[in-house]
């Protein structure tokens, strides 16, 4: 009974303080915009995280292979004849000794058979026994930082130890890999840009729809002497708050998903895939993303409102 009286008393009474002169909080348009912004933000978080990870991976590969090269002594000669392991090991030792005496080389080290096995096992499997498989000799080289290396001369000197000896500077495949990651990075940035454009179009459309629905109220404000900026301020505030709310929820969901994906990748231990451990700065960028989307929505709403109001006399 008491509840009934309370309810009855509140009938026809304004329930909340006035926020806007237009009934912007009524209808389902706001919820639609929130959901749309939430989904956009999740996509943007994915695209940006991918871009960050690819950049980090590129940086890791570039810096990891800088000033480095590998000398390979294949286990078979140019005619396809198998070379005895003893011979391969002898050539490797000779080359190591030669490189250690080279003025441009900082370190030269023969890779141990176990390390070579570890390298090839992901491709050949752990079950395979290497006893009857001839292993190539590999010598890792690190050049001095300030030296310009003439790889052609060095390779011709190395070939004096054996015609089939090869010098791999990683340059070719690294360039291809960098091109590939660059293309992926570009795609990620393109997706982020498209998300931005979609946000602008969606907000402009939503604001225009709202203005069409409330054209009588807008005309009333206009006739009372409300300036274009006065009206625009209300719609831009509404757009900012609505998009910020939707985007913040999207950012939380997106970040949770990113951390889950990162954790799953770590469990699989796939070293070639990008590391999903985002840096502090990158996490901050992702956290402020909703504010950026909110600001973008605010500016879009303002411009849309001012353009539409300019059609009024």
């Amino acid at each position: 009974m008491i509840n009934f009286i309370k309810k009855d008393r509140s009938l026809g009474v304004a329930k909340e303080k006035r926020k806007y002169d237009l009934p912007l909080n009524k209808g389902s348009g706001g919820s639609f915009l929130k959901i749309l912004m939430g989904l956009m933000t999740i996509l943007a978080i994915f695209a940006l995280s991918a871009s960050f990870s690819l950049s980090e991976m590129t940086e890791r590969w570039s810096s990891g292979l800088e000033n480095k090269a590998t000398v390979e002594i294949p286990a078979e000669d140019n005619k396809g004849n198998i070379i005895e392991q003893v011979v391969v090991d002898k050539i490797a030792l000779d080359i190591e000794s030669f490189l250690k005496g080279h003025p441009d080389v900082e370190t030269a080290e023969i890779m141990r058979p176990q390390e070579i096995k570890d390298l090839v096992s992901p491709w050949l499997g752990n079950e395979i026994t290497f006893e009857n498989v001839p292993l190539p000799g590999i010598v890792s080289i690190k050049f001095k930082d300030d030296k310009e290396i003439n790889y052609t001369i060095l390779e011709s000197r190395l070939k004096s130890f054996g015609e089939h000896v090869r010098l791999d500077t990683h340059g070719t495949w690294l360039a291809d890999l960098l091109k590939f990651t660059g293309a992926l990075n570009f795609a990620a940035i393109l997706i982020s840009t498209l998300i931005g454009i979609t946000t602008v179009v969606a907000v402009a459309g939503a604001v225009q729809a709202r203005m069409a629905v409330y054209d009588e109220e807008l005309e009333l404000l206009h006739l009372m002497g409300a300036g274009d900026r006065y009206i625009a301020n209300q719609l831009q505030r509404y757009s900012f708050i609505t998009c910020l709310q939707g985007s913040a929820i999207g950012a939380i969901i997106g970040l949770i998903l990113i951390f889950i994906i990162g954790w799953l990748l770590k469990q699989r231990d796939i070293s070639l895939l990008p590391d999903f451990n985002l840096s502090f700065v990158q996490i901050i960028i992702l956290i402020i993303l909703p504010f950026f989307i909110g600001l973008l929505a605010m500016v879009t709403a303002r411009q849309t409102v001012l353009r539409e109001l300019s059609k009024m006399p």
């Binding site: 009474v13 304004a14 009934p23 009333l220 404000l221 006399p313």
Partner: protein
């Protein structure tokens, strides 16, 4: 204050709904605007509250040629005009208080001042205990009083009212007319569009603008001869 010189109005490519309107309203005058349905009262009112620009002729308000004003100047002019619309045009998502306070908020008055002025006016129009009510839950008469209060809250230089007493009982109607009269005596120019001949007779001291077939005529108090405004000025 308001001057119409050979003013005409047409909608799109249709015929002129108002043609060759000529009149001058001096500051502080009180006029009724009457005429049969379809005579162009609403169109003339919409030009007066700057909702529409004439398609020909010269219209000046407060000493300014309206056709040559920019948006900012038009906005300033509109803030000096109070309008009571026939259909009230109240904002139903806002309380009665906020509806009345709207013109003050638009003109940037401080909130403390707004509260005092609005509460005082609400008491005066007999809605002091309805400040939090939503307009669509109130009676037609109450809504009309809110519309009138909203129009006069800024003490406008020009007050335009379209059938302001239409939904009110005689007593309240008379009280509102007295409010308009009082505002007029304080210097506000008042134009009231009305069909109510009884009301116009009660306030027969005021001039009448009679619209008929797109033309405007002025009827002075106690005059029986219609005088075409165009020939007067």
């Amino acid at each position: 204050m308001i001057k119409f010189e050979h003013v005409g109005l047409r909608y799109g490519v249709g015929p002129e709904v108002l043609s060759d309107i000529n009149f001058t309203l001096e500051p502080g005058t009180f006029h009724f605007l009457s005429g049969p349905s379809g005579s162009g009262k609403t169109s003339l009112m919409s030009m007066l509250y700057l909702g529409r620009q004439p398609t020909r002729g010269l219209m000046s308000m407060f000493g300014k040629n309206v056709g040559q004003l920019n948006r900012q100047e038009l906005k300033k002019l509109r803030q000096r005009i109070g309008v009571v619309f026939q259909d009230f045009r109240l904002l139903n998502h806002m309380s009665a208080f906020d509806n009345i306070a709207l013109p003050l908020r638009i003109s940037g008055q401080p909130e403390k001042e707004i509260r005092a002025n609005v509460e005082e006016l609400m008491e005066w129009v007999g809605l002091g205990d309805h400040r939090h009510m939503l307009p669509n839950t109130m009676s037609g008469g109450q809504q009309q009083r809110i519309a009138v209060a909203r129009a006069v809250i800024t003490r406008p230089k020009l007050l335009l009212a379209d059938e302001p007493t239409g939904n009110l009982d005689d007593e309240i109607g008379l009280r509102l007319m007295n409010l308009f009269d009082q505002l007029n005596r304080m210097g506000t120019t008042v134009v009231i569009a009305s069909h109510n001949t009884v009301l116009m007779q009660k306030f027969s001291q005021h001039d009448r603008i009679i619209l008929d077939d797109g033309q405007a005529y002025l009827e002075k108090p106690q005059q029986t001869i219609k005088q075409r405004l165009g020939s007067m000025f």
